[in-house]
Amino acid sequence: MAQTLALSPAELALRLGDDALILSHRLCEWCGRAPTLEVDLALSNIGLDLLGQAQFFLNYAGELDGNGRDADKLAYHREEHEFKNSLLAEQPNGDFARTMVRQFFFSAWQLLRFQELAASPDGTLAAIAAKALKEIAYHVQFAAEWVVRLGDGTAESKRRVAEGVIWSWRFVDELFTGEDAALRPAWEARVQATLAQAGLELPAPVRGITGGREGRHSEHLGHLLAEMQYVQRCHPNAQW
């Protein structure tokens, strides 16, 4: 794929780092509020995995960028339009069904993306991807199982998970722009199989909403950043 070259390692690291950073923040919002203690711990584990990925990617992005910024600097001292995460990652949690669908869609994409990345000529990116793949395989499995439980469970859970699918579906196109377009058939096959198990169908194509990769975000990201960056912005140059 000629297009693969279009994205520099720096840009790629920033995108993938921001995805992980923002989604892990969303999972933090569940902490202490999940349906059971067991699920609370599980969401924290996924959040911690993603936070670790974010640190690796963003430190590397800062290194390549040459301005002496580390992961913290990038996380806490950039403005909204400088974030390159996908819109899917920044979507609010909604209910547990929406959170699980978001996780499933995202992790299933991440799995394919990172399988490619693990073979990247950029050794650092390849190493980060190889390490993350083991984590992601579990995330996909965990989220897919919940999608099935909710789809098959009760009338209410089925309604909620179906709504979750509709909510997130609008942001799927963005995951498969540019070089990632080739990953879509495999992703759809995986998603379709799980949705079928859940008694749900793959939604009809919709007009995808994009922009996150270019820094044009939903209204939600600004609020997330306001909260995340508050302490650092109040105390510039302080150590924590």
Binding site: T36, L37, E38, L41, A42, N45, F142, E145, R149
Partner: protein, 94 residues
């Protein structure tokens, strides 16, 4: 009471070569969920390489009231232990 999520007993193999050991319990609606809960709850610090989960109500336990009948008869069978037998010091490898 309605909607009681089942309890599963969790057994962890710390490393290959050792047997699974009981570590605690989790709540989960199904077996797969129990394995995942056990993984998230009991192996966060690299405590294991393998997990068993067993529905709590599938365990039959001995009755402490019977403990004497069950376990005391073993006490005087000292001939089951190697130290019961005297072997001369100059005889090796036995």
């Amino acid at each position: 009471m309605k909607n009681i999520t089942p309890i599963w007993e969790v057994f962890v193999r710390a490393k290959n070569g050792l047997s699974h050991r009981h570590v605690g319990s989790v709540h989960a609606a199904d077996a797969r969920g129990a394995v995942e809960a056990a993984r998230d709850v009991y192996t966060r610090r690299m405590e294991g390489v393998s997990l068993w989960v067993v529905p709590s109500n599938a365990i039959t336990a001995s009755d402490p009231g019977e403990a004497a009948a069950l376990f005391a008869p073993a006490e005087d069978k000292i001939y089951r232990h190697p130290t019961f037998y005297v072997v001369p010091d100059n005889v090796k490898h036995i």
